[in-house]
Amino acid sequence: MGIIRASKLGFDYIKYHDDSEDPEKINAIKGVDFDVEKGQFIAVLGHNGSGKSTLAKHINALLVPTRGTMYVDGVNTSEEEELWKVRQKAGMVFQNPDNQIIGTVVEEDVGFGPENLGVETEDIWHRVDDALAKVGMLGFRDRSPNRLSGGQKQRVAIASVVAMHPECIVLDEPTAMLDPNGRREVLECVRELNQKEGITVILITHYMEEVVFADNVIVMDRGQIVMRGTPRAIFSRVDELKHYGLAVPQVTELACELKQSGVDLPDGILTIDELVEALC
């Protein structure tokens, strides 16, 4: 049984209008089945408004299903008394590096989560050290978060989640506001947590390059999952991706164009190494 298991999950946002009796329903998720094995790295792609964030918020019970079910590590997220258990198992990191950090000092920020869980003071410090080390920010523990770069702020946000000892981290466009260096830092950090610590990762992104190292990719369209597969399989289906408003990494695009111009190249080239290898 997978660590995250959504079955026939449907979700409606409900809006009440002054001028009418019946509330309006916005059907954002339409019968999604989604099963993630422990330790996997899953990337989620999809056009604006396709339902990625809505689905992600179900994983740590910020939202609960209108229809169907969501289980996280065997816990049904719809059961209110299990809320904190779910929040501890699955942490979230968002897009804006500036409004996720609440502490005035880095270590304080990372300690908030465990403190809220009722962890003993001594153990909190232990967890803070450990989490900061895992994201490569131990040297910044006494710093004020305002003085950090965007990539560093996001790594602190990730450390705050890691300090809760989660099974799973959901990252909703964590690199959208970062420079190339920050983007690389955050991705390396996330990959390492996945590979070394075995933490399950769900990464939502609009950058196709970031998906290349995922175990599996899912593509959403208007509230449904419309494609699933390995990055290589997904990025070989260029026309379908375009149809869903998506694209392929720049290397893959170049390889495709060269191929169309008659150069003999294999399908689904994903990295610079692969292209160089195939051409020289």
């Binding site: 809006k15 999809g46 897009q95 959208a176 506001m177 190339p180 610079i272 051409l279």
Partner: protein, 298 residues
């Protein structure tokens, strides 16, 4: 010259313990009709710089001229300046405040003193340009997805029909189709309507394709100012500044190391394609350019 910055410096929290020197002695001239890209590491001062251009931030020292007039002189009409110089903020949620999408987009033209019908017409046109369909007009801006909010914020500025359009990371959070659509729209406004564009971006690929002139900001100073091609030849120095070159530039360098004589200054997929095809055909025909009558090269 349309906009001129003379020795502009800016310090946040001046004379407090939180003092941050965000800009240091910036000198910069912007001509009418330019398409300028601005790149720089997070916290380098890009957002601070562009907020000076429409008078949202007053320089700690130095001068800002628009059309030759000092915008901080007594009696200067900053409100009017802001209708000429439109700014789309980095975080669109900071820009949306009305009860529904269409009212939000009508706000700018209303401030310009246009009639209700004219405002509505402008707003609809702008929403169409950013790909927001009619069924969203009555939705609250706060109930939109991240990318939808960004599109609406941009429509709000477009509806004012500005002379200069400044966009702070307009494609962050947009899906690839939306990214192409918005950048295409910006290019159209520049090419066909002559609007001056200033585009802040963390996407090296995007500025390489669209900008004619590229500014690199590093720790509050201008580190490079030139065409994207010129600037990206300094990619090793850019990496030191937390930046990079477009992915194709790295591909070209790798191919070159392997002995394929490709153009190292290629920064777009199209340039790379042509150059690689040419190099492959030369290699096949034994290295002379004349012998390269390959069917591949269009």
């Amino acid at each position: 010259m349309l906009i001129e910055l003379k020795d502009v410096s800016y310090t946040y929290g001046k004379d407090t313990v939180y003092e941050v020197n965000a800009l240091n002695h910036i000198n910069l001239g912007i001509d009418e009709g330019e398409f300028i890209g601005i790149i720089g590491h997070t916290g380098s001062g890009k957002s601070t710089l562009i907020q000076h251009l429409n008078g949202l931030i007053k320089p700690t020292s130095g001068q800002i001229l628009f059309d030759g007039s000092d915008i901080w002189e007594d009696g200067y009409n900053l409100r009017e300046l802001r209708t000429h110089v439109g700014l789309v903020f980095q975080y669109p949620e900071n820009q949306l405040f009305e009860t529904d999408v269409i009212t939000d987009v009508m706000f700018g033209p209303k401030n310009k003193g246009l009639s209700k019908d004219q405002c509505e017409e402008r707003a609809k046109e702008a929403l169409k340009q950013v790909g927001i369909p009619e069924n969203f007009y009555k939705v609250s801006p706060f109930d939109l997805s991240g990318g939808q909010k960004r599109r609406v914020a941009m429509a709000g500025v477009l509806a004012m029909d500005p002379q200069v359009l400044i966009l702070d990371e307009p494609t962050a959070g947009l899906d690839p189709a939306g990214r192409d659509e918005i950048l295409g729209q910006i290019k159209y406004l520049h090419d066909k309507r002559g609007i001056t564009i200033i585009l802040v971006s963390h996407s090296m690929e995007d500025v390489a394709v669209y900008a004619k002139r590229l500014l690199v900001i590093n720790d509050g100073r201008i580190a490079f100012d030139g065409s994207p091609k010129q600037v990206f030849t300094h990619y090793r120095e850019l990496e030191q500044m937390g930046l990079a070159a477009p992915q194709v530039t790295y591909i070209m360098h790798r191919l070159h190391e392997k002995g394929l004589t490709v153009d190292l200054t290629a920064t777009t997929v199209e340039e790379a394609r042509r150059s690689i095809l040419l190099a492959l055909s030369m290699k096949k025909s034994g290295g002379t350019e004349e012998g390269g009558g390959s069917p591949w090269v269009k």
